[in-house]
Amino acid sequence: MEAEKIIDSLNAKFPDTISDSQIESEKRISAYAEAGSIVEICRYLKDELQFDHLSSETAVDLILKDEIEVVYHLSSFGQPLVLKLKARLPRNNPEIESITSVYWDANWYEREAYELFGVQYRNHPNLRNLVLPDELLGDWPLRKDYEDFPQKTAKNLV
């Protein structure tokens, strides 16, 4: 399916919850989703639009906007397209529904985003730390304010 058709179909199906959808390049599409309806959107993408592969799921800490963005990269085994779906969450209480019911392999990605950023996934089957030791849980080490932000830049190198 072509990129334009996918965007049209998404916008028509979710007029209120999908925003800023655009074609970034030949094989990349991006869109913002309302955090509350992420599971329905993913379900629709997987069942109707052939996005049957979760390439990655992660979070980005946008400290200046006071937001945490959860980023899903959905791709497909059949078509060479990657859809970057983002959801904005408030930084003091990042909470979103888990998509493990749609994509089985989101399980570990979500555990990782949880321990590194503190994103709370509702209805996750097993939300506990994956790579970090228990002592580090709660420090959210990949957030930008973990041990002094902004860090030193390379200015002193030149």
Binding site: L54, S55, S56, V60, H73, W104, D105, T153, A154
Partner: protein
């Protein structure tokens, strides 16, 4: 996993240092007799925090760091990282350096598959077999060493090109090594195909169907062994893979035996790609003329933006998601390694199999734990 065990059940911890594991991770298996009831993977024993480290390194300093994510696929990791920066900064590498990159990355795939092949045979108790591929692998590493200066962590790719041109006598040495490798593969193939015990241990063991493999997000040889021809080099061609003739190697059985043959077929295919690349390679400069940064610039401010770049790692789909805020360091880098979802698929895959088969199944997935932990 429910750790409560019944009167006739047993909990076994395999690892973090187990003789039959390619890297430190712990596999907790619950057994009833010899049959696996349930299992659970524990990770983080070599968590290096590479994603955080990259945020405090300049782009150029990032190259040796991504090398360390998986020491068997250092060049494809670099390709993903360098490709991200090139896309963000709008740099197009010259044709000659693209060909050189293809050659070194395919060499890296060969050496990784050879280790995977040898290591796997060791896991199932075919100890002698381990040393045959390792001897030839050393010849491939010699080729990489004479080009990049290092055996395992190369730091060879640069934004817009490669550090050095191919050395003199590379082609001749390549031919020599490939002749040795072709002869070896034939011999070992015969050895393994005709071995009844080997077949009994691998045929029909750890079967993945195409649908479950897709559902679990497994990529690379384990997926291709089920018959799905998913290969980033074909689906989303990067570098000059478009101009090269190669096929995606698949099998249909989806079991341990098929996974090994996919790797062997890919070694042949990689050799074919390298020979073509050596023939077709144009002469010319290594770096484009209008490079926006100096080749060794310690500080380069990459325009704001974000990109997701995928390459085909020896183990599957390797993607990096890079966010740049216009400063001299990446704002966020997410490394999406192929082993992460593959390791996640282990517990369902080994369920209901025999304990002795666990090692064969896990070994056949060729997991590089270092990359899953990052």
């Amino acid at each position: 996993m429910d750790t409560n065990i019944g009167p006739d059940e047993m909990l076994i911890h395999m690892g973090p240092h187990h003789i039959a594991q390619p890297g430190p991770f712990r596999l907790n298996v619950k057994l009833k007799g010899e049959t696996v009831q349930d299992s659970d993977v524990e990770m983080g024993f070599i968590h290096k925090g590479i994603e955080k480290i990259l945020e405090s390194k300049t782009y150029l300093q990032g190259i040796p760091v991504v090398d360390r994510a998986c020491y068997l696929a250092a060049l494809t990791n670099e390709e993903a990282f360098v490709g991200c920066v090139e896309k963000l900064a709008g740099i197009e590498p010259t044709e000659r350096s693209q060909y050189i990159r293809v050659i070194v990355e395919e060499l890296s795939r060969i050496q990784s598959h050879l280790l995977g092949y040898g290591e796997y045979t060791e896991f199932i108790g075919f100890m002698t077999m381990f040393f045959y591929p390792m001897t030839v692998r050393e010849k491939i590493l010699d080729l990489l060493e004479m080009t990049t200066g290092a055996r395992i962590t190369h730091s060879y790719l640069r934004f817009g090109g490669v550090r050095d041109d191919l050395p003199e006598g590379f082609e001749a040495k390549c031919k020599e090594a490939f002749a040795l490798l072709r002869r070896g593969l034939e011999e070992w193939g015969e050895l393994m195909k005709s071995d009844t015990i080997y077949r009994e241990r691998t045929v029909g063991v750890g079967v993945l169907t195409p649908d479950t493999a897709k559902e679990m997000g497994v990529t690379g040889p384990p997926l291709r062994a089920t018959g799905v021809d998913f290969d980033i080099r074909k689906d989303e061609p990067y570098l000059v893979y478009d101009d090269l003739d190669f096929k995606v190697c698949t099998e249909t059985a989806g079991d341990v035996y098929a996974r090994i043959w996919v790797r062997v077929a890919e070694i042949y295919e990689s050799m074919y790609i390298i020979e073509q690349a050596l023939d077709q390679m144009p002469s010319g400069p290594l770096f484009p003329e209008n490079l926006p940064y100096d080749r060794r610039a310690p500080v380069m401010r990459v325009p704001e933006g974000e990109v997701f770049h995928r390459v085909e790692d020896p183990r599957g789909e390797m993607g990096m998601y890079m966010v740049s805020d216009g400063s001299d360091k990446p704002y966020r880098v997410k490394i999406r390694g192929p082993v992460f979802p593959t390791m996640q698929a282990m517990p369902p895959l080994i369920k209901d199999s025999q304990l002795a088969d666990v090692v064969a199944i896990v070994g056949s997935l060729d997991p590089c734990v270092s990359e899953a932990d990052r």
